[in-house]
């Protein structure tokens, strides 16, 4: 009786993993094929695969699935880019200038309580349903972690480093750019990884509600056509892209850690 102690061999564990995966698909196929539930309700896995394939060549809701994905990714990069470009410098500056921290923090905390998705109506009203509206929603999702982690990074820089720079005559801006920024890179990148995840999520939400293209829009159209296979194809595509974004940022994180010998 000990935590995670086992007498099972690697092969046994591997077999169990395969069984776990297989039972997911087996259960799904069995329920779908048994006729308990109509195929319009739960299509079997192969029907979803077929539909996915079809969506790559035949346009649905105006575009093929690749084009929808491309427009989603474009919006994501824009919202995420803004969040990083504003959040990181602001966070570092808040970590350095006490007065800025004291002025901005209460506003930030007050706004942060509102779920990013609740910005959708204003986003649509202010920036329309094309690129601007969804971008604002992504920004609202991705901004807080970018800001918070840069702030924390800057606050926990070793005071000796700052003192050394100041002794050598560096001003506030130089300290921020040449001491705080490089020293807090690991924390910033960790924050950006969370940002990216939340941003991608918020994007999907925004596109479900207001958009005229994009992967979320494809899913809503599939929903109103009562076609779960289209909806599931969208879910798969979203999962794959989200996973790829996460892996890419993990790589960056690992590379940075490796370079710093940690």
């Amino acid at each position: 009786m000990a935590v995670a102690r086992t007498n099972a061999s690697r092969a046994q564990l591997f077999a169990l993993s395969a069984a776990g995966l297989a039972s997911l698909f087996a259960l799904w196929s069995a329920v779908a094929a048994s006729g308990w539930v109509a195929p319009q309700f739960l299509p079997p896995p192969w029907a979803v695969a077929e539909r996915f394939e079809l969506l790559t060549s035949r346009p649905f809701a105006g575009y093929t699935i690749q084009q929808h994905l491309l427009s989603s990714i474009g919006r994501f990069l824009m919202g995420f880019g803004f969040a990083a470009a504003i959040g990181v410098p602001l966070g570092l500056a808040m970590g350095w200038f006490r007065w800025l921290d004291e002025v901005v923090s209460p506003l930030f905390e007050a706004v942060r309580f509102v779920a990013p998705i609740a910005w959708v109506p204003f986003a649509a009203l202010w920036f329309g349903t094309g690129i601007g509206g969804p971008t604002l929603v992504i920004f609202m999702g991705a901004f807080p972690p970018a800001l918070i982690n840069s702030y924390r990074g800057a606050r926990f820089v070793e005071p000796r480093l700052i003192e050394a720079a100041q002794t050598l005559g560096a001003g506030s801006w130089r300290v921020i750019a040449q001491v705080l920024l490089p020293a807090s890179v690991p924390s910033i990148v960790a924050g950006l990884r969370i940002s990216a995840g939340l941003g991608w999520q918020s994007l999907v939400g925004a596109e479900l509600i207001v958009a005229s293209s994009g992967i979320g829009y494809l899913m809503v159209k599939g929903q109103s056509n009562m076609s779960p296979s289209i909806v599931m194809s969208g879910m798969i595509a979203i999962g794959i892209v989200g996973f790829a974004i996460d892996i890419a940022l993990r790589r960056v994180e690992a590379a940075i850690h490796a370079r710093r010998g940690q």
């Binding site: 086992t6 009203l125 979320g216 779960p228």
Partner: protein, 257 residues
């Protein structure tokens, strides 16, 4: 020390007050057109309207109650399933080997992406909302309970074993309390995800709820009511987080600080 924190509070109040003043000035002078954003007076009027006469078929407290009720239901089911599953996966390598692959496969799909499927399956009623809230709240509760068990110090377990503890008692006295801090941080994430997902689901389609207020106000191009809806979403979310923090303190009196 004392003076520093008092100064901080004063600056915070001044900052919030300044933001409200700016809001008032910009909307009163027409720098921000009324079509785009509401003035404080319009905001108050919209609040008055939804509180006394109602908007989108119900009064504010009814919408809020509906949303909170659904979150509580979905959250409770997700926790009741997710925490034991996470504990089991942390405890036994076999359970981990079996459950982890399907879990890893489903995890990258954000909870919001389940909304259209839930609507196709269950329609626009409460059942679809509870389903997406369940999906949203399930993942963090599993992961953190798992991490909680894995981070238990081995000598705690060994000490309990040496004393010849029985399985049920071990669970109750060692495993769960030791994993509790992690479990609670998982619950916090779960609750946040559940709340966001519910608001999104209600925006996509609902008969009642705060998200429905937002979506009706967006359709009527009624900025003041959108603002009321957003504030209500923030207040309810904040209140739930606070309630969970209180429960956390109650459940772990030994971590009072």
């Amino acid at each position: 020390m004392m003076r520093g924190s008092r100064r901080r509070t004063a600056v915070a109040l001044a900052s919030l007050g300044g933001a409200v003043a700016l809001w008032w000035v910009f909307t009163a002078t027409g720098v921000i057109p009324a079509m785009r954003f509401a003035s404080p007076r319009e905001f108050a009027a919209a609040f008055e309207q939804i509180s006394s006469q109602g908007y989108a078929d119900a009064k504010l407290w009814q919408h809020a109650l509906q949303s909170c009720k659904l979150v509580a239901m979905g959250f409770a089911v997700a926790v009741a399933v997710g925490v034991p599953l996470g504990l089991a996966m942390g405890w036994s390598r076999r359970a981990e080997a079996f459950f982890n692959p399907p879990f890893l496969l489903l995890r990258p799909i954000p909870p919001l992406a389940w909304i259209p499927l839930a609507i196709v399956w269950l329609g626009l009623g409460d059942a679809a909302k509870v389903m997406v809230i369940f999906v949203a709240a399930f993942v963090p509760s599993v992961i953190n309970s798992y991490t909680g068990v894995r981070s238990i110090e081995p000598h705690l377990v060994e000490a309990a074993e040496t004393l010849g503890i029985r399985r049920a008692m071990f669970l109750r006295e060692v495993l769960v309390p030791a994993a509790l801090p992690h479990i609670f941080s998982g619950l916090r994430l779960s609750l946040q995800a559940a709340w966001t997902t519910l608001v999104a689901a209600e925006l996509v389609g609902a008969l009642r709820g705060l998200g429905q207020v937002l979506s009706a106000a967006a359709q009527d191009i009624y900025p003041a009511m959108i603002l009321v809806g957003m504030v209500a979403v923030g207040v309810c979310g904040g209140a739930m987080t606070l309630a969970l923090a209180l429960a956390e303190r109650r459940a772990m009196p030994w971590r009072a600080a």
